[in-house]
């Protein structure tokens, strides 16, 4: 029991920080890539098939390669997280941008919107519900990649603690960690995704009647 106070807290902090960093990078570049894929036929032709191929690889399969390249370091874990989360975010963003009603873009153009103002002022906000879906998916993938990475290669964080718990036969610890992970999920929902979902529902009117 005494083990949990302090150790668990530190593990949570380690894991959450890793997740936020990896997810942040994935989100930023994923949305960028998604928009580029949707708007530029050249980008799509050049990179599209590669993206499709890579997203069929379960992110944990990247771990051996990451360790070979970066050793047992934070870089390895971050590589796995980013490769796991960036691709689904990019794919979802591409779909969302493609499905922006062309009438909205036409309307914006007749009002004088062009180039970056059209993209950032109209297209991306219009695609936001789809991008949010992708972001939620990306979060799930990021969490999974993180946990798999931490379980397999000991380096601190919740995954390592799980492995430790199994090793010393401490069922209570293992269950406690699982409960913690559930709590983290609820927290992210409450703090972030739930709020964004409600905001989208408020503006677009997609709440259940």
């Amino acid at each position: 029991m005494a083990l949990k106070d302090g150790t668990l807290g530190r593990a949570v902090v380690t894991s959450v920080l890793r997740l936020l960093l990896g997810y942040g990078v994935s989100l930023f570049f994923g949305v960028l890539l998604g928009v580029a894929l949707a708007r530029s036929a050249k980008t799509k032709a050049a990179v599209g098939p590669l993206i499709l191929g890579m997203s069929s690889v379960p992110s944990i399969c990247w771990l051996p390669l990451a360790i070979l390249w970066f050793g047992l370091s934070e870089w390895a874990i971050q590589t796995v997280i980013v490769l796991g989360a960036l691709l689904p975010i990019a794919v979802a963003t591409e779909g969302a941008v493609k499905h922006v009603p062309p009438q909205l873009v036409r309307a914006a153009r007749t009002m004088g919107a062009r180039g970056p103002r059209l993209l950032f002022g109209v297209v991306i906000p219009a695609a936001f519900p789809g991008i949010l879906s992708g972001a939620k998916l990306g979060w799930t993938f990021a969490l999974r990649s993180l946990m798999a990475g931490e379980l397999l290669f000991v380096s601190g964080g919740l995954g390592q603690l799980l492995e430790t718990g199994r090793d010393i036969g401490d069922t209570a610890l293992v269950v406690a960690i699982i409960v913690t992970i559930i709590a983290l999920g609820r927290a992210s929902e409450w703090l972030l995704f739930g709020r964004l979902d409600r905001e989208v529902g408020r503006r677009w009117g997609t709440e259940a009647a």
Partner: protein
């Protein structure tokens, strides 16, 4: 039988304009052709059309589906470039879409993530207006279309007719020279349609912009237009002009409107039948025609 004329709204001319609005400019198509690519190759949507619309004129483009009326509107707006010929505004060729040629679409096309007020302010924001001025101007426009109470609602909370009024307010925000309307009332119920026709007429009388209004509803066109341009189909081309010199404002149930409408409808009837026959495998029979034998019934005859 004398038509019951509604009392002319004398207030319209007597009320001082709240803000001087830019008068309309002329717009014209000079031997314009337009074709676009389909899976079956290039399709000619417009074939050598020339059209001139005077400054401050209210013109309706009328024709059945496929006659290229929306294409012409998109060409005037600058959203499409002609494959041949030129589109001119005030004598000079246009260079793409812009706020001087504002457009109202059939489905309003308001941005769902913005409130009604923010939607109306959007073109003003693009034009670089300050926040305070935008507020003032959007309030004025919303009051003009009687939607001020709903300024903070999102489009999904508004009815179809309200959304269209919002779209009209947005189109008028930058004081355009030409107002383009693409079947704006097609998706609305008949009562709302009539009310909005009256609104458009009222706004037109107040601001005297050049209006190009596309519709397939002949009665609507006769009610609103100074001039009707009839369009033919396959390929899309201009058939002829009809001038409507009825006094304004016009009542929806005015007998003269009905008379003109029947006349115009007769003119485009053959075009409408052409479409109907094409879409129904030649088995379509126009109502009132002699009964024709269904060609499928005669298989094997005369061998």
């Amino acid at each position: 039988m004398k038509a019951t004329a509604l009392p002319v709204d004398a207030e319209i001319s007597a009320r001082p304009a709240k803000r001087p609005s830019r008068p309309g400019t002329s717009t014209s198509l000079d031997r314009v052709s337009f074709s676009f690519d389909t899976t079956e190759g290039a399709r000619l949507a417009i074939d050598g059309a020339s059209l001139h619309i005077e400054a401050g004129e209210f013109v309706c483009l009328v024709g059945p589906s496929g006659s290229g009326k929306s294409t012409i509107l998109n060409l005037i707006a600058g959203l499409l470039s002609p494959t041949q010929g030129r589109v001119l505004e005030n004598g000079a060729p246009i260079d793409g879409p812009g706020p001087a040629r504002a457009m109202v679409f059939q489905d309003a096309a308001l941005f769902p993530w913005l409130t009604l007020r923010e939607n109306v302010e959007y073109p003003l924001q693009l034009a670089g207006m300050s926040k305070g001025e935008r507020r003032e101007r959007s309030a004025e426009l919303l009051r003009m279309v009687h939607l001020y109470r709903f300024a903070d609602s999102h489009p999904h909370e508004l009815s179809g007719g309200m959304r269209q009024r919002g779209a009209i307010a947005r189109a008028l925000a930058t004081d355009p020279a030409v107002l383009l309307m693409d079947e704006p009332f097609a998706a609305l119920d008949a009562q709302t349609r009539e009310i909005l026709q009256g609104e458009v007429e009222r706004i037109y009388l107040e601001m005297r912009k050049t209006v190009v209004f596309v519709t397939h509803n002949v009665r609507e066109a006769v009610r609103l237009a100074d001039r009707i341009v009839l369009m033919g189909t396959r390929p899309g081309r201009i058939l002829r002009d009809v001038t409507i010199d009825l006094p304004r404002p016009r009542a929806a149930n005015d007998e003269r409107v009905a008379w003109f409408a029947a006349d115009v409808a007769g003119e485009i009837r053959s075009e409408v039948e052409k479409i109907a026959r094409e879409e129904a495998d030649d088995a379509w029979v126009a109502p009132g025609d002699r009964v024709r034998v269904d060609p499928r019934r005669n298989l094997g005859g005369g061998i």
